[in-house]
Amino acid sequence: MYDFIKNKIIRGKTPSMFRLPFVYSLGKAMVRCNLLKFSYRSAAMTVEYGMEQIRRIFKGRSPYVWVSAFFPTEFLHALDIVSFSPEVISALITSLGFQNNFLEEAESRWWSRDNCSFHRCAMGGLISNFYPVPAAFCASSHLCEGGVFLFNNLARRYHRPFILLDTPLDNNDNSLLYVTRQLQKIITLLEGVAGTRLRVEKLEEAVFNTEKTRQAMLKVNELRRHPYSPLRSKDAFAYLYLYFTGMGSRVVPGIYETLAAELEKKIKESQNSKGGETSPRYRLLWMHLQPFYQNGIMDYLEANGAELVFEDFSHVYWESWDPGRPLEYIANRMLAHFNYGRIERRIKVIKELARRYNVDGVIHFSHWGCRQSCGSLNIIRNSLQEEGLPFLVLDGDCVDSRNFASGQVQTRIDGFLEMLA
């Protein structure tokens, strides 16, 4: 979806133009006037939302903070603090094709290639003054551990507060108490960043927005089970920005609702038109993120009759809770993440998704340096084997294209497809 922007606008320009707020105002206007083509209206809305956030960062009027994956952004929306997700921004930069500038910048200062390239890219952008220094670094320790250390490091380096949500391993009463107490402390710290007090009704509204988002996402996910559902993983990754920073925003529920309506319409159209869309030969589940540079993996799979019908990150992992008790709602959401903690929970969800989406196989994209997602893959492989679910691990890197060996990847995909046949 970024192809158009990439080909028509960026070619020949330097990345520095992306520091100008008006570029994003212009971008938003182009989206609104349908000058940029999107297969989904909701995807256009997502881009518009993202551009507005980034515009505000470069405009520099409102406080902005870095957030690691799954930090409770409800507080930020309630306090009108702009959040910046280094992972998503690195993904964006990679899809625009200038990630190497930042990676090399970081590496030239001895940042090792053994570590996550999302982080190396983000860090390269910060040390080369591409991004303004944020007012705080907010990390949550579940899932991504490297992000916690990176943020702690950067906070020290730039003399900014490091705000940590220490997420316990198990979901029980003791953990819930610990998280809730920490959330209270985090509120105080964030009030310091925003320079205002958090109003209870604002927080309640933010949590209510998360609940509305949750319900809309559930609707989308239910529709995606339909054999005629056209939404594939490669399109679903367009909504990544919302997943990482949009919880609590008042705009985001509408985007998912629009997506649900669009899907419903497209499914009906397919059903009504003669025969509809032919169903794919193989239905696959995608795990973890995708490479954001040109790689052709997903197109290649599609061209060979294998459709990625769902991806684990779109799974709605938390149960409903009374939005009138916002801290508990957030604490429960934090503790519910299936990819964190004991492996049984993760395996259970993968199996459940495999059943729900009626898939023939599972592909895990292993991002080099992501120790959380890759660590126990062989245990997952064995568990899926027991269910007779073929499992393919693709080793690669989401950001650093130098870690991508297309020949090797293709042989593995071909072998996997031949095995499914």
Binding site: W110, W111, S112, D114, N115, S141, E145, G146, V148, F149, L150, N152, N153, A155, R156, R157, F162, L164, D166, P168, L169, D170, N174, S175, L177, Y178, R181, Q182, K185, R342, I343, S366, W368, G369, C370, R371, Q372, C374, G375, S376, L377, N378, I379, N382
Partner: protein
């Protein structure tokens, strides 16, 4: 000459005692210095620091991804090797959720089922009141689970007894760090060997050994050591590294190592049975130590580092970290920047002993300092 023979005999006997332990069956292995060894002892098991392995984690890589740290992979390798030989020399293992590699190591151990008891203890990243409260509850849970496994009652007065016992031993070793800002008569390598013994021997055995050490060795040391004064920090340093530095004439004055000085810290006030439960005391003890880089406050000590090094008249710093160890990697990045006036040697290891290249680099570093 005679003194040399006495010392040699002491260290040999210590080695012998450690080797005897390899066959002992009631050992409950632990790895991370945040493990409450007192609880293990209170359940009548022998808390035994698992040494990992020096070598290549081939079999372990069937279960753990190759981008995980070598310590976790080598440790799994050792478990697999011993289980493969049909040796039942461990009563089990308790792991602390101190980093992502330990979590995955736990997953593998649990799935493989080759040990009779495996436990994962969650560790907060903070030393706040809430965190201590949370950790204390986890410690109680661990005590209950282990007692249940051993078929005994979780006995708090027994636990208090172990707390006093370990506290005494920690205190004895801690005294060795006193006055090291001046001339030193014992090298850090010697302290490391004692700390090592503390982590594998039973508390009673260790106090016996230490009494002999104090009497026959410590009391008779007169001459101060000369050579470049060094500070060492980083993740699990390979066995023999500090000895090698000593051989080359370096004097290890101070360390910031988990199986080192940080193993010995405890709250200054006397533990008071009447005043609370043992779990809160242990939570205070473990969370109150100088933090490992995975802890939230770890970076605060970097602000003081130059001052500390000046106080101890340090000539050079050695920083060892394991490849793929994120917490130490990000910490090391800042450490490098903070040390402007003191030479620093950075060693990246694969938990495979001291390689030839490492030897060359350490030698060159010490030549540079002398």
């Amino acid at each position: 000459m005679e003194q040399q023979a006495v010392e040699k005999a002491f260290w040999e006997r210590l080695e012998e005692e450690k080797n005897k332990l390899l066959q002992k069956k009631e050992k409950l292995a632990w790895i991370c210095s945040y493990t409450p060894v007192e609880i293990i002892s209170a359940c009548k098991l022998h808390p035994y620091r698992f040494p990992g392995r020096e070598g290549t984690p081939f079999s372990a890589d069937s279960y753990l991804h190759s981008s995980l740290c070598f310590f976790a992979r080598c440790s799994l390798e050792r478990v697999l090797k011993e289980a493969g030989k049909g040796k039942d020399v461990l009563a089990g293992m308790v792991l602390v959720n101190s980093c992502i590699s330990m979590l995955h190591f736990y997953h593998a151990l649990e799935k493989l089922g080759c040990l009779p008891f495996v436990y994962l203890l969650d560790l907060p990243r903070d030393n706040s009141e809430q965190a201590r409260h949370y950790y204390a509850a986890n410690l109680r849970g661990f005590h209950q689970a282990l007692s249940k496994h051993c078929g005994c009652e979780s006995n708090e007065s027994e636990l208090w007894e172990q707390i006093y016992l370990f506290r005494e031993n920690r205190g004895r070793l801690w005294e060795l760090y006193a006055g090291r800002n001046g001339e030193v008569a014992i090298d850090g390598d010697e302290i490391m060997r004692l700390v090592n013994a503390f982590t594998v021997l039973s508390p009673e055995k260790f106090s016996n050994f230490f009494a002999v050490y104090r009497e026959n060795i410590l009391g008779k040391r007169k001459n101060n050591l000369s050579g470049p004064r060094l500070f060492i920090t980083g993740s699990f340093v390979p066995e023999g590294l500090t000895g090698f530095i000593r051989e080359l004439g370096g004097v290890l004055v101070l360390d910031d190592l988990c199986i080192g000085r940080r193993m010995l810290q405890f709250p200054p006030e006397e533990p008071d049975e009447a005043d609370g439960d043992p779990y809160s005391y242990l939570a205070r003890l473990y969370l109150g130590k100088d933090p490992c880089p995975r802890m939230q406050q770890a970076y605060e000590k970097l602000e003081e580092i130059e001052k500390t090094l000046k106080t101890y008249h340090i000539d050079g710093v050695i920083f060892y970290y394991l490849k793929f160890c994120d917490p130490w990697y990000y910490y090391g990045q800042l450490l490098k920047e903070k040390l402007n006036n003191i030479p620093l040697l950075v060693l990246e290891g694969e938990h495979a002993g001291i390689t030839g290249q490492m030897r060359t680099r350490i030698s060159a570093f010490l030549e540079m300092l002398s």
